[in-house]
Symmetry: C2
Subunit: 197 residues, 2 copies
């Protein structure tokens, strides 16, 4: 009798567990989105190549107009290279304690209809996936803009050997956050227009 009661209890507990895991599958994504923040303060710890690989895979899961995938990624982990990149960027200071940097690039020549606009949009979507993946792995990152500043694009190109037809969209420092940076609440009901503007 005692044993069968335990068995029933166990079954109930396991059913609850499965439900919790199922629920968390959708909810966890909202949690990651909500906890994502622009991280500008890092401990100086390195970012592993396996974490970066996971993050870049997430980038390539983004939608892309007519499946053209005009994006490309430079992933920098070498301290010297990070420091020389830092030296040419206005927000370069952030890189000094980052463990890595991802530069999301895009090639209008390869975009749907060779569209400059789709090239920028596709690479932006990949960048958002990258920022979310960083958060999901417990790391931190921030989009520092390179495009559309022609001077900055030229500096990043020459620092990393990026060809002329390729646009470096951003430099995303990645690293272990100190914990100082917090997410912002940006929800505003007046941004939503139901049925018509």
């Amino acid at each position: 009798m005692k044993a069968s009661l335990s068995a029933i209890f166990l079954c109930l507990l396991m059913a609850g567990t499965v439900h919790a895991v199922e629920k968390s599958k959708g909810e966890a994504m909202f949690d990651v989105m909500q906890s994502r923040k622009s991280v500008r303060n890092f401990t100086g710890a390195p970012a592993t190549k396996s974490a970066l690989d996971k993050i870049l895979r997430a980038g390539m899961m983004a939608p892309t107009a007519r499946n053209q995938q005009p994006w490309a990624f430079v992933a920098v982990t070498d301290r010297k290279q990070l420091d020389s990149l830092a030296a040419v960027l206005p927000s370069g200071k952030i890189l000094l304690k980052a463990g890595a940097a991802i530069i999301v690039c895009t090639e209008p020549e390869k975009a749907a209809g060779k569209s400059h606009e789709f090239a920028i949009i596709d690479a932006s979507l990949a960048s958002e996936n990258i920022l979310l993946a960083v958060e999901a792995l417990g790391l931190g990152a921030v989009w520092t803009a390179v495009y559309p500043d022609a001077r900055l694009m030229e500096r990043v190109r020459s620092s990393l050997g990026i060809p002329k037809g390729v646009i470096p969209l951003n430099v995303i420092p990645v690293g272990v956050p100190t914990g100082e940076d917090k997410p912002k609440t940006k929800y505003k009901v007046e941004k939503i227009h139901w049925e018509r503007w």
Copy 2:
């Protein structure tokens, strides 16, 4: 004795559960990204207002240059409005069985430095969050481009009463997927350049 064995077993089971839920928090986000696909085939079932509200909240969790939030959203659920929008769009057919549509808009006047480019990028990031949120909720969606086609932008503006200074970036039909549409694998190792291009 039997009771204490059961208690030990229960504790072990619960520890396993907590671990499973913890693990799924990061992993679940990758699962959502990986299973996201462009859904063009819907059952015709409506999308609830509470689901749409959740999806729009996710949109507003995106990063935005200097926190300017130049984005705005039109959410359409009314069948007549969806049909009249469908009538003016080349990919309007998709809307006929969708439960709703989200039009992600952006105002360059409100973007960081009044930059047209940042306006487009910020709204693109919000759109990617929207597409991921749709997938997380078990719904389907697809980005149908409006920007940069001037004729399409004008049609969407006049169909939904969107003011002149506001750019409708896309029309995103949202609904219950039939299951026909499958995710694509886009990972390509040659898109990654380690240390330098």
